[in-house]
Symmetry: C2
Subunit: 222 residues, 2 copies
């Protein structure tokens, strides 16, 4: 029996990505839309994120969190997995195919995303350092290693392992973070893969919802 | 019905950590020992890891992989989760408590491990760079941010969320990678938490098994 109230997720009150859909609430919104589940959003300021009330939900003071009756979850990977376990549309029913799709979720988060996070870190924290110009290509080349391997695996396939799954959702969400770098365009099949993800109606609805939050945050008060 | 043959995992023929239990096969060995499941190990050379036969199992050319009848998995997080789904001892039965334990698995791999990987990368690839001395403390401080938050959450508890789970297994396995840095000792409750993990008989058996592989690899031929 589904819970009587929709789950509540948290998102940035003012997303640092300015509504480009790169914040991790996007992954959860997208999963909920794929599963055709309603949800509510509570916006959190940067200050509140680091305060005790939010840390009781998320020990690392980040978004998103997920509250559903007595259950509170954190980590976008765990929340997407939870949604995928409870609703159809995100994980195959057959046990082995399902386990493979879960492998891709972990691959997105633990193998592909770390060097991409490193690129975001260097651009945010090291742009004014003397070593920035020399170190940047080292970081980009580590990303290229991963993208090349992923591109080889994907080949001409539509999705990573058969039908669209939470593994694709997570991989697309991670790869989108590379858009501004231009690196994705060096791998046309990956760029097309990401575009297929973004073209899904569930993605579009999730993107519009997070963009609306950002637009509202920019509106003049009163 | 359990499969008739034990699963086969892959591990480094010559582990770059020299048997200190830092390679990712350790996580899978530990999970299998917690679940009291037999397993076999196929050792893979660095060259073979990057060859087509191994890449058919692991698109990113890494270890460990997991083969169980027709099922092949990669990513230590996914393999540990698979083991935990099928055998008692690694995830709570109650759905909400179980979802929380899974949150901690993802937190270990996607929130705590990335800055630790960055420290390993800088020590391995940037030690001879002009910026090493200035950049090292920046990387260490990002790790301290995470350790401080984790330490605050853990407090005086034995494990992260009630009884020992796959979430603790993964977190301990990630934190152990910090041993050589000394950072862990700045957080006594985390150091004690890691020591509790290492004291588990299943950990001890897994550690001994991976160490034996390394010792054998060092023995003179013939």
């Amino acid at each position: 029996m589904p819970p009587s109230l929709p789950p509540v997720i948290t998102a940035f009150e003012q997303s640092p990505d300015r509504g480009r859909g790169l914040a991790r609430d996007m992954r959860v919104r997208w999963a909920l839309e794929e599963a055709d589940q309603p949800y509510e959003v509570r916006l959190v300021s940067f200050d509140a994120m680091k305060g005790p009330a939010h840390r009781a939900l998320h020990p690392f003071g980040q978004i998103p969190t997920y509250e559903e009756g007595p259950l509170t979850l954190f980590e976008s990977g765990a929340i997407v997995f939870h949604i995928a376990q409870r609703h159809a549309g995100l994980l195959p029913e057959e046990a082995n195919t399902r386990a493979r799709a879960i492998s891709w979720m972990f691959a997105a988060l633990n193998t592909v995303e770390p060097p991409i996070l490193d690129l975001q870190t260097i651009k945010f924290l090291e742009r004014d350092k003397s070593w920035y110009e020399e170190r940047l290509p080292m970081v980009e080349n580590r990303i290229r290693d991963r993208l090349g391997e992923l591109s080889d695996h994907l080949g001409n396939a539509e999705w990573l392992d058969g039908a669209f799954s939470a593994g694709d959702l997570m991989m697309v969400a991670v790869l989108i973070r590379l858009r501004a770098s231009g690196l994705l365009n060096e791998y046309p099949n990956l760029a097309a893969y990401v575009a297929r993800g973004e073209a899904r109606p569930a993605y579009q609805r999730a993107f519009a919802a997070q963009l609306a939050v950002f637009v509202a945050s920019q509106a003049p008060a009163g």
